[in-house]
């Protein structure tokens, strides 16, 4: 009986949670004229959705944003996952000396707000010609993702019996080989979870993109969405909403397709 009531409450709250999504989709499908005349709650045929999305795509210069953001969101988390795994491997399997200190230094860098490094990064990037470049952004997104990755991988590796490592050493394998041939394949689920989570965070980043890029071709997609909103909000709201849908689609699909890895990564990442 209690279960039934709880289910009902969850369904009602869940439906309530989806209301903003409903409003977004319905209004993203209206023509600008319809939008002015009808209630935002009134459903439509969504006939204008594709056209609005195309319009947002064009006005917001989203194509270039998509390309650069894809590069950032794929390369950086992949590299960071490996670098973090290497650190975890050093700490757990190779029994790095003073490992607690090393780990604290690496991990604590995620605690302080990014504001603490924003301005020197800006100054340094300008001086080193990294400002408004794709490789500059890839580098920074990688660094930002490393601590989380090291954290998850240390936890993951501590669940692997040390005998695995010792047996490989007995067989004469080098630490480099052991890492790539045994530990990396074994930790694939954790690496994937890190990748998915960090890719989502990078895709959704605003602050770093705002600070360290300027041109349409290097700006991350969310920065472009924000600009689209400030420029075309108001009467052309359907176009902006369609743009918001478009930009959100990749991470929502990624989340739905990899729910298990995603939630697993979230859980792994907090403790």
């Amino acid at each position: 009986m209690g279960q039934l009531i709880r289910k009902a409450v969850l369904i009602v709250l869940g439906a309530l949670w989806l209301v903003p999504v409903y409003l977004m989709i319905v209004n993203a499908g209206k023509t600008n004229a319809d939008y002015g005349l009808t209630s935002p709650w009134q459903p439509t045929s969504l006939g204008n959705l594709v056209e609005n999305a195309a319009s947002a795509w064009e006005r917001g210069n989203l194509l270039e944003g998509v390309i650069s953001t894809l590069i950032y969101a794929i390369v950086s988390p992949a590299v960071a996952a490996i670098i973090g795994a290497m650190a975890g491997f050093a700490i757990i399997a190779l029994k790095l000396r003073h490992s607690f200190l090393w780990f604290t230094v690496i991990f604590s860098s995620t605690v302080f707000p990014i504001q603490m490094v924003l301005m020197p990064l800006f100054i340094g990037y300008v001086q080193l010609d990294l400002y408004d470049t794709r490789h500059g952004m890839v580098l920074l997104y990688t660094v930002i993702s490393v601590p989380f990755s090291a954290f998850v991988m240390r936890n993951f590796f501590s669940g692997i019996a040390q005998q695995v490592f010792e047996a490989a050493v007995m067989d004469g394998a080098s630490s480099w080989r052991i890492f790539w041939r045994i530990y990396v394949p074994m930790s694939f689920p954790a690496l994937v979870a890190i990748f998915i989570l960090q890719a989502t965070f990078i895709w959704n980043d605003l602050l770093l993109g705002l600070t360290l890029t300027q041109s349409q071709e290097n700006r991350p997609i969310v920065t472009l969405l924000s600009a689209l909103q400030s420029t075309y909000g108001g009467s052309t709201m359907p176009v902006v909403l369609a743009g918001g849908l478009l930009v959100s689609l990749p991470t929502v699909i990624l989340f739905l397709a990899t729910q298990r890895s995603f939630t697993r990564g979230l859980a792994l990442g907090q403790f």
Partner: protein, 325 residues
């Protein structure tokens, strides 16, 4: 009596005949890399941790130190920073705009603890033990995959003048139809916290759910047999056992709320005027639109001190060797 386990036999052998014991120890140490004295992988281990260390040191720690230095200077990005002592910090705690920003940030912290954390706990308790609970949680997790800017975009649309919310309130004859959601302070900060709740409650529900699952069944059963149920069962049995996890969730929520930037940027840009800014946003504006690098740095330092202090709540737990919840 059962035959002694191998380990036991080994220790017996050691006690009984020293030579045999010696023999055992030598074989043992040659079979396994000696852990205590010389680690044959000492050099390799440093090599493996170095990339992470170097990247973090150059791109995060050096800038960190530089910001701390700049906070004691006046600097506009051109020329050389001029040392002015604590002046920027005095400004932080006397300037009305920044004081407002401090108040807003405090509201964000309290609001986040009440709404996304409280609601997350409620959702987790509701979904706990229900068949297919992952499906019930799905709508709440979905917004987490969306960027703060997109979240802000939807909610700006809902809350705009004569927008969807106003219309709904008017339709049902409810109070609030005249409210100017994003234009009046402190209402605008409050509704932005609601938007952040829409995005973040699901994650807290997920984390609390993991915590609830890891609680051993026996004490709950025992309490139930003793007649505890409902609220009392939760208050006196479940909740205390959830404490370690609650500490982490609350700590993360405080730290996250202190860093609030995206949603405010997307919904009000800190306005109207500068009424709804958070510290993170004020720092950004002072630095990159006002070119007050020194003041921006001081704001960053204040924000960092508050954040790190709150993080100590859970950091010790995270840094400790892995444990399963």
């Amino acid at each position: 009596m059962p035959p002694p386990a191998p380990a036991e036999r080994l220790s017996h052998a050691r006690e009984d005949s020293p030579t045999e014991g010696m023999l055992m120890t030598t074989t043992a140490s040659s079979a396994r890399p000696a852990r205590s004295h010389r680690n044959p992988f000492a050099r390799a281990s440093v090599g493996f941790v170095l990339p992470a260390m170097v990247l973090v040191a150059i791109l995060l720690y050096i800038p960190f130190v530089y910001t701390t230095y700049l906070s004691f200077t006046e600097f506009s990005g051109l020329g050389t920073p001029e040392f002015i002592g604590w002046e920027n910090y005095v400004t932080v705690f006397t300037d009305p705009t920044i004081l407002r920003s401090l108040v807003n940030t405090a509201m964000w912290v309290v609001g986040t603890l009440v709404l996304p954390v409280g609601l997350g706990l409620l959702l987790a308790v509701l979904a706990h033990g229900i068949k297919g609970s992952a499906w019930y949680r799905l709508p709440f997790l979905l917004p987490y995959a969306i960027s703060g800017v997109a979240v802000g975009l939807v909610w700006t649309f809902i809350l705009q003048t004569d927008g969807a919310l106003t219309e709904a309130l008017r339709f049902f004859g409810l109070p609030g139809a005249d409210a100017r959601w994003l234009l009046d302070w402190p209402l605008n900060t409050f509704v932005m916290i609601v938007a952040a709740t829409w995005q973040g409650a699901g994650v807290n529900a997920l984390l609390f759910g993991i915590g609830l699952q890891s609680i051993p069944k026996e004490p709950i059963e025992a309490a139930r047999i003793d007649g505890a149920s409902g609220w009392n069962l939760f208050r006196y049995v479940t909740w205390p056992m959830l404490t370690p996890l609650t500490t982490v969730v609350i700590g993360l929520a405080i730290v996250g709320s202190l860093k609030t930037f995206d949603i405010v940027w997307a919904m009000t840009k800190g306005g109207p005027g500068r009424a709804s800014e958070t510290l993170a946003l004020t720092m950004f504006k002072e630095t990159f639109t006002e070119y007050k690098y020194g003041l921006g740095a001081a704001l960053a330092v204040v924000l960092t001190i508050v954040t790190v202090t709150s993080a100590l709540l859970y950091l010790r737990r995270q840094l400790a060797p892995a444990k399963e919840f």
